[in-house]
């Protein structure tokens, strides 16, 4: 089957998210792979927002823009989003706005037959299910699961509403519903980056998170706080991002795996803490979920504009790691790796995501837990007689104990310090040794970094180079180009600092693909690998890269 793209549009507060979530879960329960992404304005009521659901037999975790079905919850939503609807696509709305469409007055029916307009959205979901040819029983199961905590009356009314919507839509369908989605056997986790990351953190043994709410990172601490008892993670909303990063550092110094999460502006406040982690050699994991800047920028949109900021964050010279996961499955693995390496090398690790990865729901077949293991690197007490927190070693990694663990005292200092952590101005030997020791860890870290992923690189002349969450769009872009008879390959980085040992194959044309205006990846790779780029396909309007966007820009500039 061809993938189907359903767009639900409406004002903030009208239930776009609820309708989208229930539809996504229903289609997923029907055995299909679902990918959802949302674009919304930074407001709680009003405006016009959309929730896109891509449905396919196999996971295609990349956004599509053109819609096969558009459900508009109000007339303004029709005006704004109708241009996205394909010519042969189906519009569903409350009023008859044109000849060929399905008009169902959800609110009036809810008020009349169910005595409460609250059921209007469930009627709309029933209609969508009817249009898409999904089993009504599957929707009923999802509704029962969702509403069973609210009592029988609510469940019954929702089931009646769903039936009514389904009945009306199938009656109105005529030639407008060519789709059929019978039950099939697929079983997928439907999960976002902001859900996979906290789960991975807990799996990695994280016990502490402090953060300040900032879109699009807030989901991470929210999930951990809501599961505090089951996961045993202490979650604290700090008074600001500076407090958040310092609380996490305190917890980490005291032996608990700790993290924080923020977006660009909050990360700017945390930067002195990144440097503190580097100097005190305290493990720390920071999730930096990007959105367009500078300053407040576009709070609810997506970007990859903080790559060079993340890599260069922190005054002074110290090693750090930056991992940029491509999807929730990869984010799970990279997050566990982030905790392991932060602990092993006693360094700050930044997990660089963005709004697109944070909030989009991807279909994941299996998290492959057998291939990822938390590893712990606190030093065993038996090895220590005279303890020195910053003992000089060949690889720069000193034995790490935590305070109160034993009679050994653990002292750490933001000043330049001696092996016991005391302030020093012994410039000739101690200072040089400490600088060298910290930087020596960089060599070890470099060896931990995986090379970029190569797709079709050997068979093509032109290679698109990307990083992080745009992997799905890049792969789809390659596929769309191939359909046109154009051959392009992909090199994709998820572990981006320190850059891995890697040789760009000679004699090819390289183009970076990035969600920023300045071509930051190109700049980084040029300086580290001395590779040259013909140009950059970039997007900086706050919307995610899509396969179609990459295809059309490629044809426009490089075809």
């Amino acid at each position: 089957m061809e993938d189907i793209n359903v767009v639900i549009a409406g004002a903030a507060g009208e239930g776009v998210q609820t309708v989208g979530d229930i539809l996504a879960h229903t289609v997923s329960a029907q055995g299909y792979a679902v990918f959802t992404w949302q674009e919304y304005e930074s407001r709680i009521r009003g405006g016009q927002n959309s929730y896109s659901i891509r449905i396919g037999e196999k996971p295609q975790n990349a956004p599509l823009l053109p819609a096969d079905v558009l459900l508009a919850l109000n007339e303004g939503a029709v005006n704004k989003y109708e241009p996205l609807l394909k010519e042969e696509g189906t519009l569903i709305a409350q009023k008859q706005l044109r000849k060929r469409m399905i008009a169902i007055p959800f609110a009036d029916i809810a008020q009349g037959e169910l005595k409460d307009t609250i059921y209007a959205n469930t009627i709309a979901i029933g209609a969508l299910i009817g249009v898409l040819g999904v089993d009504l029983d599957t929707l009923k199961r999802v509704l029962v699961k969702k509403f069973k905590g609210k009592g029988n009356k609510v469940v019954e009314s929702n089931l009646s509403a769903a039936e009514e919507g389904y009945r009306r839509a199938t009656k109105e369908c005529k030639d407008m519903c060519p789709w059929k989605l019978p039950r099939q056997g697929g079983q997928y986790y439907l999960i976002s980056g902001n859900e996979a990351i906290p789960l991975a953190a807990a799996f990695a043994g994280c016990r502490f998170i402090a953060a300040y709410p900032m879109t699009p990172s807030t989901g991470i601490i929210t999930y951990l706080a809501s599961e505090e008892e089951r996961l045993g993670v202490f979650a604290e909303q700090a008074e600001d991002e500076i407090a958040a990063v310092n609380m996490a550092l305190g917890a980490s110094y005291a032996g608990a795996r700790a993290m924080t999460a923020t977006s660009g502006g909050g990360f700017a406040l945390m930067v002195e803490g990144v440097s503190l982690a580097g100097m005190t050699e305290t493990p720390l994991v920071i999730v930096l979920a990007q959105r367009p800047g500078p300053a407040t920028g576009l709070p609810t949109r997506t970007a990859q504009g903080d790559l060079l900021f993340a890599i260069n964050a922190g005054h002074g010279e110290f090693p750090k790691l930056v991992l940029a996961p491509s999807n929730p499955h990869n984010a799970f693995h990279e997050t566990v790796k982030a905790f392991n390496l932060a602990d092993r090398y006693q360094v700050p690790v930044i997990v660089l995501t963005d709004h697109f990865l944070a909030d989009s729901q991807f279909s994941v077949s299996d998290f492959d837990l057998d291939t990822v293991t938390p590893s712990f690197h606190l030093t065993g007490l038996e090895k220590i007689s005279d303890y020195k927190r910053y003992q000089l070693t060949e690889h720069g990694i000193s034995p790490r104990l935590y305070p109160g663990q034993s009679e050994h005292l653990v002292g750490v200092d933001s000043d330049e310090h001696d092996e016991r952590g005391h302030i020093t101005e012994d410039l000739g030997s101690t200072v040089k040794a400490m600088v060298g020791k910290r930087l020596a860890k960089f060599d070890g870290l470099k060896g931990e970094i995986s090379p970029p992923e190569e797709t079709f690189v050997n068979d093509v002349d032109t290679v698109l180079v990307g990083w992080g969450s745009s992997r799905g769009a890049l792969l789809e872009g390659l596929y769309l180009l191939k359909q046109e008879g154009k051959k392009a390959g992909m090199i994709h980085f998820t572990e981006i600092w320190p850059l891995p040992e890697y040789q760009f194959p000679e004699g090819k044309t390289y183009i970076t693909v990035e969600s920023n205006a300045a071509g930051q990846l190109a700049r980084l790779l040029r300086s580290e690998y001395a590779v040259s780029f013909q140009g950059t396909i970039n997007r900086y309007d706050g919307l995610p890269l899509t396969g179609e966007y990459i295809r059309s820009r490629f044809n426009e500039y490089y075809g």
Partner: protein
């Protein structure tokens, strides 16, 4: 039994000779001995400034972090390992200036830690600028025509925002200060001691000037009376009270609910969730299945 020697180390002290900070250091050592704490049971957190160097001169665990950031670090430590006696040593610039926001919100959280502020009404390590507690009109090296801003009253702020133990000590009275530190550290909640610590290098008044104005709060004073305590916290200038200004039974502790409902063990002692548990959590992200 711990002894004064347990808390001695051989780190060279960088304070000016004769600095009242030596008195505070001595009071800390005596308090630890009286509390019979072993050095490894104690964790001191400091920021930047002359006060922040104190943990280096007391043999114990320490985290000497960034300017103003002591309290967040200390709260992180305290959550991770409640068995540690966590003490913040800071100055008026560090705590009330750079770290003012953290001070206010630490009061609201009520962590079971102790905050000791060396208050010398001046930035000493940067050579004599005004601090948030410098009295209006007094000259400093940057405020050459006198400070125009109203001074902060941190004790009143603490009393108003839920701190259950508020005291003021004097670096020139070691025995009295030791008594306050013992009481503060023993208090089960956020305890706060502001210590008058005249700067003998940059300050405009000699230690004797303070001595003439300082008096000990008498036994007839009721530290449990909040209004009376607020009034006492505003006494300053010609008469400076030292002693326990406000003391009330502690309210709900920071992380108290977590300790009761999740664990009261140090967090590094816990094992991470196993694969079974992870699969159970992940299964909640699968769509409703036939059986459910």
């Amino acid at each position: 039994m711990s002894t004064m020697d347990d808390y001695r180390n051989n780190v060279e002290i960088q304070w000016c000779p004769g600095c009242p900070n030596f008195g505070i250091l001595q009071a800390f050592k005596k308090a630890m001995v009286e509390l019979n704490k072993a050095p490894h049971e104690v964790c001191m957190v400091s920021g930047i400034g002359q006060a922040a160097k104190l943990p280096h001169y007391l043999n114990c665990n320490f985290f000497n972090g960034l300017h103003g950031r002591t309290l967040p670090v200390a709260m992180g430590i305290h959550v991770a390992n409640p068995k540690l006696t966590t003490i913040v040593v800071t100055g008026d610039g560090d705590c009330y200036g750079e770290g003012g926001n953290h001070f206010i919100h630490a009061l609201r959280r009520n962590p079971d830690i102790t905050l000791v502020v060396h208050n010398n009404e001046i930035y000493a390590l940067t050579k004599g600028q005004a601090s948030p507690t410098t009295p209006r009109g007094e000259r400093r090296t940057l405020q050459i025509k006198g400070v125009k801003l109203a001074p902060l009253n941190p004790l009143a702020i603490a009393i108003l925002h839920g701190c259950g133990f508020v005291a003021r000590g004097f670096a020139g009275d070691i025995e009295h200060l030791k008594g306050l530190l013992v009481e503060a550290i023993s208090y089960q909640g956020f305890s706060y001691v502001d210590v008058i610590q005249p700067c003998i290098t940059w300050g405009i008044h000699p230690v004797s000037w303070y001595r003439e104005r300082i008096y000990k709060i008498g036994d007839d004073y009721d530290p449990g009376n909040r209004e009376g305590a607020l009034e006492k916290s505003m006494e300053w200038g010609q008469k400076m009270p030292i002693g326990v200004i406000y003391k009330t039974p502690p309210g709900e502790l920071f992380a108290g609910r977590f300790r009761k409902s999740v664990t009261d063990r140090p967090l590094p002692e816990l094992e991470p969730p196993d694969r079974e548990k992870m699969l159970e959590l992940l299964s909640e992200f699968r769509a409703a299945e036939e059986s459910s």
